[in-house]
Symmetry: C2
Subunit: 199 residues, 2 copies
Amino acid sequence: MRTMTNEIEAVPKKSIKRLQIIEAAFKLFTENGFYATGVDLIMRQANVSKRTMYIYFPTKNDLIVAVLEFYRANYEQGLTDLLARNDLSNREKIIAIFEDAGNWFENRQFHGCLAVNAMGEFSGKDPKIENACRVFKTWELDVFRKLTKGLPVMYPNDLAFKLLVLLEGMGAIAQVMKQPCPIDIRQMVNDLMDGHCVA
Amino acid sequence: MRTMTNEIEAVPKKSIKRLQIIEAAFKLFTENGFYATGVDLIMRQANVSKRTMYIYFPTKNDLIVAVLEFYRANYEQGLTDLLARNDLSNREKIIAIFEDAGNWFENRQFHGCLAVNAMGEFSGKDPKIENACRVFKTWELDVFRKLTKGLPVMYPNDLAFKLLVLLEGMGAIAQVMKQPCPIDIRQMVNDLMDGHCVA
DNA sequence: CGAAAAGTAAACCGATTAGTTTACTTTCTG
DNA sequence: CAGAAAGTAAACTAATCGGTTTACTTTTCG
């Protein structure tokens, strides 16, 4: 029974352990995959007892859902500074998103989009995880939509979708090929936007 | 010791069992993922004893590598007819590849590119599997390269890479979103090619 | 203070995992 | 035919899996 306290901290240490678990799981899931990562390893890396783990996350799949939402919130966090800048046009912000992503993809530690990887392992098996993956991609699309809507273009939603396709494609290829992208991605993004500009 | 027989069948029943195993494994890996699919289930679905399985494939990962090559050969097989047609220009063949892929992606049974899924589960864990995934994507890129080279365009290799990015992006999004692609992909492919056409 | 809440460590559960081995049968072929 | 090759079915291993339980300790807070 949750006491409706009017204190500042309605969630005290509780969320510290919770966050430890999620962060450790996020790292392990990213590096080694979901099925391949056992809960014993997660709890060891998180410095948390198994019992505590199962209080916060009754099943491993519940933890996976939480990790996917953490992944999204993390991504959003990293974008807020960029999106808040008013010295950049929306077009420049879009370009910046792709350049950031490009740098991330070229990192040796890049293991692909966690939501895509999760879908590969749980598609048709766990609706909650499937939903979390869709939420992630929907949010990504929404970021582009908000940006393209402020652009002097026709069909901004279509343009946003094309940008998402481009981003996903780069990521998937980078994950498999593990070599620097041979094409000028900035040019490609600009071409896409130019193609939608009002004549 | 293989007898160099001049008979018609240099590979008798041997490869029949092998193919049964690969085909069953391919279906199961595609639908349920790699780690989540146990070897017992594979052998049951293939109507093959466990011992036979382990003669053809000493480890599960060996089987996965074989399945990935099967996946590639299958894809190639399905493309040969299209690529052999001489009533179609290379530009039309490229468009046709994307339309075929689009139809595949919209299928409810689509579970993403097997090579990308494999990379998500084995990246940094098994070099042989990683290599098989790269071979697949390299081959895909090569298909586009052969087609763009016969096109009146500048930098055909760059164009081929862009086409691959587009194809991967569509696949990844389709896998997660499971809804029809809202944009005109034919138009997008044409725009890409037009952007490379000699002026 | 003192009790509830939140934590730990470790034993334990049944099921499942990849992989091995044994004993027997079928099929091909010189 | 005879024997090698290729097959089956099933028992078995040792490890690991997700998840539960028990006994005990720490922390929080009215």
